[in-house]
């Protein structure tokens, strides 16, 4: 049980970009740049960061919807980078995905039954038609939808219900890992809470591992076991949720956390405002990528890129400072 279900090692996804009129592949957009982490069985790792930081590309690269430029991904000990299309298709059974917008991730032309049954048939997981129907009904029940939903089309459901369908579909082949790419971000607050609870419920019952990609720290705090913070294609801090939320070791994490609204006014704290814009991932700053916006940046940050280092309370952060200055 000590092999991680997902092992991502020095993964890079660079997109070629044109520059000027004729330039071709002259520059690279470093969407994911040297990312390493593992996810254990039954664990939830949240990947957080602002839009454009590469978290969605990371998810897509792991699923190989996008080909990695460098690095490796192992799923349950099988190296999925460098796997042939045919091998990969078989292995996809163990790794599923739930997208942000169920209105576009469920084909509007298919009935719910066919959407959920398709992976069962493809991976040869159900025998005859009756067995498929029974499994579809069972999956619908697991996500809290009535059996009758099977005969209807996705557009007949609300956003939260559609996301339940997407989850039922992802559960169908009994995967070990589900990648949730902003899976609750498009939902209103009450369905968001329901879907998050459904996911953690299912996870505990089925021993699923979740890679939960989100920009919503309030949701992440609720669902994640561990959290990885991304900035400009790199992980700047990764660690146990409690440690990271209590005592962030990277200035970016601290700034992100300060932006979360706490419902209790008594616990509201000073908001750390970051200066400037996110630099372009085509020309990232030298040294530490965060230095252009970091309130504590000093000479070394421009010259030397900080490695992820383990901190006293367990998490790892990529910052030259051993401890962040106290907030005034």
């Amino acid at each position: 049980m000590t092999t991680p279900i997902l092992d991502v090692h020095q993964l890079r996804t660079w997109y070629p970009v044109r520059r000027g009129l004729l330039g071709r592949g002259a520059a690279w957009l470093r969407a994911v740049d040297d990312v390493t982490f593992t996810v254990m069985r039954g664990e939830t790792l949240a990947i957080v960061g602002e839009s454009g930081c590469g978290k969605s590309t990371l998810g897509r690269t792991i699923l190989r919807f996008v080909e990695p430029t460098e690095g490796n991904v192992w799923l349950d000990g099988h190296r999925i980078t460098e796997m042939s299309r045919v091998e990969l298709r078989r292995l996809r059974r163990h790794m599923q995905v739930v997208f942000q917008d169920p209105a576009s991730s469920l084909s509007p032309r298919m009935r719910v039954r066919d959407i959920i049954a398709e992976p069962l048939v493809n991976f040869g997981l159900a025998g005859d038609r009756a067995a498929v129907d029974a499994r579809v009904a069972d999956l619908l029940c697991q996500v809290g939808l009535p059996r009758s939903a099977a005969e209807r089309y996705p557009h007949e459901f609300s956003g939260g219900q559609r996301q339940r369908i997407a989850i039922a579909r992802a559960l169908a082949p009994e995967p070990d890992l589900i990648i949730c790419d902003e899976a609750v971000s498009a939902l209103d607050t009450s369905s968001k809470a329901q879907i998050v609870n459904l996911l953690s419920d299912l996870q505990q019952r089925l021993g699923l591992a979740l890679l939960f990609i989100s920009h919503d720290l309030a949701v992440v705090e609720h669902i994640a076991d561990r959290v990885a913070v991304m900035y400009l294609g790199k992980i700047v801090e990764i660690g146990e949720r409690a440690a990271l939320f209590e005592q962030p070791a990277h200035p970016y994490t601290r700034a992100l956390l300060s932006a979360v609204l706490d419902p209790s006014p008594a616990r509201r704290h000073a908001r750390i405002m970051l200066r400037g814009e996110v630099p372009s991932p085509i020309d990232p700053p030298s040294g530490c990528r965060f230095r252009t916006r970091c309130p504590y940046a000093f000479d070394r940050c421009a010259a030397e890129e900080p490695e992820l280092r383990e901190r006293p309370n367990g998490q790892s952060a990529a910052c030259h400072l051993d401890a962040l200055p106290a907030l005034s």
């Binding site: 699923l63 078989r90 576009s104 991730s105 084909s107 557009h155």
Partner: protein, 313 residues
């Protein structure tokens, strides 16, 4: 759905009414007097007046329009001024060839267009995509009559694979019909197929970029199933729409192409009728072409409900 179909059909009536008014007033706006054409150069003023009277050209336009519409509603399209035969009979003789040609052209266009469009969309910027870009430009830029001469030159005059003339109707058997109809149908179909291919490519690329296609990959679905079951089904509406909107292009094209390949169809009848100022024939052909177009649009609108379960009327 049935209620919607009925309402749409009823709406076609005023449309056809407007078409009837325009078609009828052609007679008054167009230069040239049919009586003069019939009477010939040597006719006296008296002869011309007699011909005008026998054609009811001396009556009040409103009265003539009313009686024309009344006759139309009884299925009487009048008598050809030139040949003296009932118009409907003339059209009936020639409709088969034109309809056969148009159906074959549509079949070619849809097959070539959708296949090319899918192949191009499969790999954006790939070999098929670049081929389609060239084919699309060529297909758009070359009018059917140029295409007709090129095809006739290559396949008939040079290679002698197919005849240029001697059109055989489908009643003569599928073999002779195909042999003589392939070239005219291709001349019409290639232009049309370029249109369909471009729309198919765009709609497929859009569908392939959707999350439901990524979801399908995650489901372990094979490429063919993704293309046809997931993407093409969702791309169907723009494709069907462009097929429908191509029908008038086809109708216009047949007039020219029939002339080149000597197909005894409606196109030839129309050209002769225009040259002879044979108004009853012109009016009937224009009216029937409009009717075909209105009906095609109706069928396409109704087909949307079959193609997309989200569309309900």
């Amino acid at each position: 759905m049935i209620g919607y179909a009925l309402r749409r059909t009823l709406l076609a009536i005023p449309v056809m009414g407007v078409v009837a008014v325009i078609v009828f007033s052609l007679l008054y706006f167009a230069p040239g007097d049919p009586a003069l054409v019939i009477a010939g150069d040597t006719a006296s003023a008296e002869d011309i007046a007699r011909i005008r009277h026998s054609l009811h050209l001396d009556q009040d336009p409103a009265v003539r329009f009313a009686s024309w519409v009344w006759q139309l509603l009884h299925g009487d399209f009048g008598t050809s001024i030139y040949s003296g035969e009932p118009v409907l009979h003339l059209i009936g003789q020639r409709a088969g060839a034109t309809v056969g040609l148009m159906l074959l052209a549509t079949l070619f266009a849809v097959t070539i267009g959708i296949t090319l469009g899918i192949l191009a969309a499969r790999r954006k910027g790939g070999a098929w995509d670049r081929l389609l870009a060239g084919y699309g430009t060529l297909g758009f830029s070359l009018p059917p009559f140029v295409m007709a001469y090129i095809l006739a030159f290559v396949f008939a005059s040079t290679l002698h694979w197919l005849p240029v003339q001697g059109f055989q109707p489908i009643s003569a058997g599928p073999g002779p019909f195909l042999r003589t109809a392939i070239l005219p149908a291709l001349s019409l179909g290639i232009v049309f197929s370029a249109l369909i291919a471009n729309v198919t490519r765009a709609a497929m690329i859009e569908a392939m970029g959707q999350d439901y296609v990524r979801t399908a990959i995650a489901k372990g679905v094979g490429e063919r199933t993704i293309l046809f079951r997931h993407a093409l089904k969702n791309a169907a509406i723009p494709i069907v729409t462009v097929i429908g909107s191509g029908v008038p292009v086809l109708i216009g094209g047949t007039v020219v192409v029939e002339g080149i390949f000597v197909v005894p169809g409606i196109g030839g009848l129309m050209v002769d009728a225009i040259l002879h100022r044979d108004y009853p024939v012109i009016q009937a052909v224009v009216l029937l072409s409009s009717l075909v177009y209105v009906l095609t649009n109706l069928i396409i609108d109704l087909s949307y409900t079959l193609l997309d379960p989200r569309i309900r009327y």
